[in-house]
Amino acid sequence: MIRAKRSFGGFALLGGLLVIAFLTNLSLGSVEIPLSDTLRWLTGGDTTQANWTYIIREYRLPKALTALLTGSGLALCGLLMQTLFRNPLAGPFVLGISSGASLGAALLIMGASLLAPTAAAWAVSDLSLAVASSLGSLLVLLTVLLVATRLRDAMALLIVGLMFGSITAAVVTVLSSFSQAEQLQQYIFWSYGSVGSLSWGQLGLLSLVFLIGSGISIWLLKGMNALLLGENYAVSLGIPIKRLRLWILLATGLLAGGITAFAGPIAFVGLAVPHLTRQLLPTSDHRLLMPGVLLFGGILMLICDTVAQLPFTSYVLPINAITSVVGAPVVIWLLLRRNRMLF
């Protein structure tokens, strides 16, 4: 098809950029490891220094893969949400999912210390944080799904999601007011987001979540294209709207909740990437947009992580700061050219 041919150039560019971004992310970091060593290791050889192999294999590689999955997953969620609500400002966390995850994390970090002080110090591990935050987002998701079965209007669902976000934020505020400085600090550090703390096992779990979420999304592509025409048109095309909505919510909840559970809340990637992708691929066909968004999301996250690592210095920036610095101007630019929006 003509459209596909025109987009082929865009995909080739995105694919190439992804490979470059991945390699760059692997080779840049606080420790100066020459590119030749990184490439040699990738092709099965050895690095000049033993601990470089450890750094690349056990730290940078899982980090790059996590960034890739996180960026792609969140971007896909953003696409799903923007189509469902036909609103360019919707993002993966518009249903209150990241607020639910924050609630879970806050209950573990700050609540545990109120109930069982001496146990709390070791109860908060990466794994327990992941479990707690996924339970939190699951709770919010289930509530949203329940409400969604009773609501006709997508806009009302959006507002309900925002309200759940406010409720969970309020509970977190109350917990914070009772907490000591150390717990507060731990919670804040969690909210910075981090892609470098996953073990191989956790990465495997994240990949599984990603595969299931994107698998469901592939199945929903035709319905999403129809949704863009408006709900009534979609119904006339024979698309079961209520079921479609539920599945979109489920896919988003799974992806966004799972990602937030492992990497903390990552801001703006889900919101900005679909728009950036639409600039590159001039289409509204989700069958082209979805792979585009997955690639672009991965690229963006890899670049943000490379910057956050502040290469050649030993300092590190929180990744949320970088994604926000990138994402916020995109949102402003969006608001300025609203008349040319697809919605």
């Binding site: 970091g29 606080s30 420790v31 601990n51 450890y54 750094i55 056990e58 730290y59 940078r60 980090k63 002080p117 001496t118 110090a121 070791w122 591990s125 990466d126 007011s177 009772f178 907490s179 000591q180 400085a181 150390e182 731990q186 550090f189 969690w190 910075y192 981090s194 892609v195 470098g196 703390s197 073990s199 903390g264 690592q309 502040l310 030993s314 300092y315 590190v316």
Partner: protein
């Protein structure tokens, strides 16, 4: 009461005369200084109670019996405080040991976060009900503070926005800021006991205690210089993928240097915490001889479960890690946070005992312990 003195417009003995005043002997601390005039009034100046403090704080400490007769120009001092203080509110566990050392445990009437106090003498007072719970952290419950009716609140701030103390001082209770946490010199931090000595009219006792601590500290430091080697030391731990550890100019780093060991980040500027990437710490610290103070960890199993990257560190594999997180008082708080600022000699001796085995063979460490398996 004290506010009444401040508001009276004219004063006969308005400003102190410089002739005949005695200065408080302060050798290491940089945050406070005091002069006492012939009438017995002490003028205390607190400098830099928090980073970027915009002004110095001046306090007049007046002997109780003279309080009614003395008047000061309004706003000449940030607070006028009757000494010896009989009803005191403290806001940090680092202030607590001074009460026990200066034999003034009866003066404490309130504290925010009673559960964190370790001192046995104060815990007895808490159990007898004479100390009120005043809230958590910097959020002093104003009503509870007013109900406790203290004569002075010893507060601490982290920025120019005093927040919690404004309603207290507006209600007429003098607030005095303690800047001991800003001192990076271990002896300077310990010297703040003289600050409490002024408030509790126990100056000679405070001076005596400090001289003893100073002597023991210098003795330990001199002993350490005789060690055959200067081991390399790592500190801190990972949270998520960022490693937090003390800066080179911090109080914690000063102890390591005084124990005749080489802290690997001695040259990193900053007196607070550094946030470094795991890579940087691996590169520099994987071969460190010892690891001091690994954040909140108390056992090797815990560390291994938290992050497998710790196995890359020699000090972890050879089991040469020492921390203070396992040493708790009867309350929820760590003994180190409460007592270490006042007893740097014990901290230094702990470090010398572990970093130079055989140098203090009969010494029983107070704060630091080897990690459990």
């Amino acid at each position: 009461m004290a506010a009444g003195c401040k508001d009276q417009p004219q004063g006969e003995s308005a400003l102190p005369d410089t002739g005949g005043t005695a200065s408080l002997d302060v050798k290491y601390a940089r945050g406070f200084e005091a002069r006492t005039d012939p009438q017995g009034i002490t003028y205390l100046t607190i400098r830099n109670p928090w980073p970027g403090a915009s002004k110095e704080y001046k306090y007049a400490l007046v002997p109780r019996e003279k309080l009614a007769a003395i008047t000061f120009p309004a706003n000449a001092y940030d607070a006028v405080i009757p000494v010896p203080v009989e009803r005191l509110v403290l806001t940090s566990t680092t202030h607590i040991p001074a009460l026990e050392i200066l034999d003034a445990t009866n003066t404490l009437v309130g504290f925010p976060g009673l559960d964190y106090i370790s001192s046995p003498a104060i815990r007895k007072k808490i159990e007898s009900g004479s100390v009120s719970e005043l809230g958590a952290n910097e959020q002093l419950n104003t009503e509870m503070v007013l109900a406790a009716a203290p004569e002075v609140v010893v507060g601490f701030g982290v920025s120019d926005a005093p927040g919690a103390y404004r309603p207290v001082s507006d209600a007429g209770i003098p607030v005095i800021f303690n800047g001991d946490w800003m001192e990076q010199n271990p002896l300077g931090k310990a010297e703040w006991i003289k600050f409490f000595g002024l408030l509790l009219d126990a100056g000679s006792r405070a001076g005596e205690h400090f001289r003893e601590v100073e002597r023991a500290y210098i003795e330990a430091r001199d002993l350490a210089t005789g060690a055959p080697e200067r081991p390399t030391v790592l500190s801190g731990a990972l949270y998520r993928d960022i490693w937090y550890l003390p800066g080179g100019e911090s109080w914690a780093a000063a102890f390591i240097e005084d124990a005749n060991a080489r802290y690997l980040w001695q040259d990193a500027s900053g007196s607070g915490s550094l946030s470094l990437s795991l890579e940087a710490v691996l590169e520099k610290g994987a071969g460190a001889d010892f690891w001091i103070a690994p954040a909140q960890f108390t056992s090797y199993t815990e560390m291994e479960a938290a992050n497998p990257h710790y196995r890359q560190f020699r000090a972890f594999r050879e089991r040469r890690i020492f921390g203070y997180a396992a040493t708790r008082g009867p309350g929820k708080g760590l003994l180190y946070y409460e007592m270490a600022p006042t007893r740097p000699d014990w901290v230094l001796k702990d470090l010398v005992h572990f970093l130079h085995p055989g140098f203090l063979p009969d010494y029983q460490p107070v704060f630091f312990k080897p990690l459990d398996p």
